[in-house]
Amino acid sequence: MKEAFPYTIPVLTGYLFIGFAFGVMFQEKGYNFIWAGFMSLLDYAGSGQYLAVNFFVPGISLLHIVFLEFMVNIRHIFYGLSMLERFQKMGGKRWYMIFSLTDETYSLLCLTKVPQGVDETKFLLCLAALDQSYWILGSVLGAAVGSAVPFDATGIDFAMTALFVVIFVEQWLTSGSHIPAYIGLGCTLLCLLLFGSGNFILPSMICIMTLLLAYRKGEKKYAH
């Protein structure tokens, strides 16, 4: 726990901000801090929960909820793909790792090297659990403070953007090849322009996978 904490500080800031923003929004729908904490305990997904705030209306279709939540979180399928080997070594604890594989925790797991002499399974589990505790804390605070002191939180969700920009820069500065980063940015921008902001994630994922695989083929060819 002690070893894991410093690595989670960027998520601590990000999650307190965006969890807080979720709490404020949920509270505006009539759900107090206990509900906010309960939801963040069981659901745990930034954009998924922002979206879910709109589901608490009479006559909502459960199928509709499943479809929208799946679409908004479909990018998470990617995350599991790059964590297969690491999580499979973790035994039963992998269930929690899969459950808690959010954008932010995934980015941390990508970035962080397990310090020497520290048990990997315990370390990764601590990273994931600390992250979720920040998220729960942020949402509880947001719901509690939001109902007590009304204030203008416009723009607070930029914390999430800032967090990803930081991780992007960090990866840029530490990685050898920038090709995958270019592919990610380029494909997504192109698909956003082509398909519009409602439907671009799935085509972006397909485009990214295709180009990464093509890049590998090209690399192999030149290596010989």
Partner: protein
């Protein structure tokens, strides 16, 4: 509350199960003991930087460059985060300053009329 306690709990459970299932999909395809093909291993290695790039765009998807404020607050704040981070390499500082700057911009200079 717009709906009853039990309905609210059902909504929360359905959302939770859907999110968990989405994250579980790759692990269903490759359970422990089943060998992971080299292509999938390769994707696992190169996907992270590409996905983070995708997430940055995803966060900025609602920005319009043809409508006021033309993405200026986002551009300024993202640049501030990048410059600060390259310069100081301090996560807390980059995220904190970037967010406060953005909030100040959209609430004052670029506030919707």
């Amino acid at each position: 509350m717009p709906i009853s306690v039990w309905e609210s709990i059902v909504v929360i459970l359905v959302v939770g199960i859907t999110i968990f299932f989405t994250r579980l999909i790759p692990f269903l395809f490759f359970p422990p003991g089943k060998e992971i093909p080299p292509t999938v291993q390769y994707l696992g290695r190169v996907l992270p930087p590409a996905v983070i790039g995708m997430l940055v765009v995803y966060c900025l998807k609602a920005v319009s460059i043809v409508q006021f404020p033309f993405g200026v607050p986002e551009l300024v704040s993202v640049l501030a985060v990048v410059v600060l981070h390259v310069w100081k390499r301090n996560n807390l500082l980059s995220i904190g300053v970037g967010t406060v700057l953005y909030m100040a911009l959209v609430q004052t200079v670029f506030a919707a009329a």
